[in-house]
Symmetry: C2
Subunit: 412 residues, 2 copies
């Protein structure tokens, strides 16, 4: 039984948990419609483990030790997390980085890091006795909610802009989510989700709003640190869109520092597409908030946001880690899909391969050293976006069914 | 260091291992072009563990204990297997089967059970010092080879019929496989692969030919039995195309019976599409071999074969387990994709969802009892075939961005 409270990262006020308590009411008064979320709350646990649990990271015992749940009985029975930390021998050689690691989060149930957030949000809904969880999203967050809610026997309602790509809807519909295409923008869907939750008593999983999304994603940092213990990583490349994953990673390492299980957190290096660079630009310019990026666009759709709603917390945590940010071109992202798959056997979606593209830039800019222990967070599987992968390869021409044609094509 | 030999399942002759020793030379004399493989060899280990290894199933220690490798140093550093055995609470309730389990093999690196075969084949190529591994395939087997070979730094060459679906080629090309579209049929590709391997010194992974494919796939049975120990399953539903997976599952349980780690193997129930039913038909008719099925076709492309090349061994092992087979319609397979995802959070490709469709038939036919401990083998992820999943869902019409529209659609 983990006791905890919510603490506003802006004003520091603490609050008791409540299903409708998503942000700090005081700081939320400064909220602009469609702007960055004001008054984002972090979870502060009263007690942290003073030793690594021996149970595997997807076990009830492990999660109970680190997450703000009343009982592990509320956890959905779907194995989330416990993904491999890989050496990626080929990539180590190519980059001359002998201590490079890949955290392969493509191996989560619905294929992305977002499952970690949904695991905790769904567990909290079970505790609260709420049967419907809603979110506005067009992508991995909605799919993750749909998958985990299905495993728990809860109902997921997903608000998407009516223009959402058809293929993305198929997976969440297969999981049985109630999908509501909204005639309007993402902001319309986001606001409609919020009012529906308040009016109908549903639980709101909106990202950068529900504090348990950041808290759930912290498990990826716990797992990395546990595998690398007693040391830790020097730096970690984190694909960044609205800033929730990077904040979750930071929270995990912060908890471990506080628990005395690691000496210090790695530098967090946010990777953003050149077409959606709001957080990277704010870091470069020394701003505490972001300018919106109308018409943000990238092949890495999971990283493409006009307003990164969790920017305030993300900027604070990246800076606090001594970290930085890089931007990467779409072409570099597509090349990184192939390079990562060829050299490690890990097939990533564009947003995830951006971690490797970002490492290439970070090396150029001297933000990481080749001797350092560096972790790439690979956030989602390439199977989610086959058309993007197709941009990184060429389908060869047919050959005649004869041995000489094979030799002519490939040599002896 | 595991000592082992090859034994022909037809004549019982034993052979020492050799990179070019794929089948029993004596029985292979009866081979018909394009027919079932004659003289398939099984691996016979001299010594099996007399207790469950405590290490996790993807660890070198575990694999070294059960697999015919000289040293665990030859194993590619990609976590294969160790996939979850899930309770699927919702499905248990719906089917009134309190002891139903799902082996979620969608969580392998390239998204299918085939990764298990490739892990061992690639490890053997490393031991033999062969740098190129080839296979004829259009689907999961080729992708699995491409992924595991990439992780090991070996070259994968894939022979595919030139008519192979474009989307399927993208993943294997991203992993860096050298793909050779062959102007001809699957049989042409299969034969060209064989002659290229002999002529060019490549290692042949062709399924139902290389004995390590069956042996590698046995790890899925080891994991299931370890989790259910000290008991085991009563029955297991296994999606079946050419018969390699079902033979691998049987081999795993057989090794465990011989080791004294389980008392008896579960009944194996092969599930085949109605449009590709050769093994099921042979079982029903009491035949020891199969009739080819020209024009075999199904939404479950991974199960669609005109000639199941591993049929002789598969038939023997299914019968030996006291098992049977069922056939399922394409419509039932598509419905099972949704049902499985909705009730468990596991999103499966058609071939994998066929396990659930097959369970429904097996219950009707009295082949399994609702009280029994039954395992469904979910062989591959639904992300591999989004168009098929789309057949099982309906994309809802848009709503206006207003609360009353939400209430009208979903109720209060």
């Amino acid at each position: 039984m983990a006791e905890f409270s919510f603490r506003c990262h802006e004003c520091g006020t603490c609050y008791a948990e409540h299903p409708e308590r998503l942000v700090c009411p005081s700081c939320a008064r400064t909220q602009q419609p469609g702007g960055v979320t004001r008054g984002v709350l972090e979870v502060i646990l009263d007690r942290l483990p003073d030793a690594w649990p021996q149970a595997p990271p997807w076990s009830a015992e492990y999660l109970d030790a680190f997450l703000p749940i009343a009982t592990s009985a509320s956890l959905p029975r779907l194995r989330v997390g416990g993904t491999p930390l890989l050496e990626g021998a080929g990539l180590r050689r190519e980059l001359d980085m002998p201590d490079l690691w890949l955290k392969d989060d493509t191996r989560n149930p619905s294929g992305s890091t977002k499952d970690r957030a949904s695991l905790l949000v769904v567990a909290k809904a079970v505790e609260y006795g709420i049967e419907t969880i809603a979110t506005a999203s067009t992508g991995n967050a909605a799919t993750a909610l749909a998958a985990v809610a299905a495993a728990a026997g809860l109902r997921a309602v997903v608000f998407v802009p009516a223009s959402a790509p058809r293929a993305k809807l198929v997976q969440m519909l297969a999981y049985g989510a109630r999908v509501l295409p909204v005639d309007g923008t993402y902001d319309d869907a986001f606001e409609l989700c919020r009012s529906a939750c308040l009016e109908l008593g549903w639980y709101n999983r909106n990202t950068a709003l529900n504090p348990f999304t950041v808290e759930g994603k912290k498990t990826v940092a716990l797992e990395i640190a546990a595998e690398l213990a007693p040391g830790c990583a020097d730096a970690m490349l984190v694909p960044t869109g609205d800033g929730v994953i990077v904040a979750g990673v930071a929270k995990g390492f912060a908890d471990l520092v506080e628990a005395g299980l690691i000496a210090r957190a790695p530098r967090l290096i946010a990777v953003q597409p050149e077409g959606s660079p709001a957080i990277a630009r704010a870091l470069r310019e020394g701003q505490v908030t972001v300018r919106p990026q109308p018409g943000a666009a990238s092949v890495a759709d999971s990283l493409t946001v006009e307003v990164p709603r969790n920017a305030l917390l993300a900027l604070k945590r990246i800076r606090g880690s001594g970290g930085s940010a890089v931007t990467v071109a779409d072409d570099a992202i597509c090349r990184a899909i192939s390079r990562l798959a060829r050299s490690t056997g890990v097939f990533a979606e564009p947003a995830a391969a951006a971690a490797l593209a970002g490492l290439e830039v970070a090396l150029e800019h001297g933000l990481v050293d080749r001797e350092e222990r560096v972790v790439l967070l690979v956030t989602g599987t390439g199977l989610k976006d086959i058309p993007a992968a197709e941009r990184s390869i060429t389908i060869p021409a047919p050959i005649a069914p004869r041995l000489d044609a094979v030799v002519e094509r490939l040599g002896r």
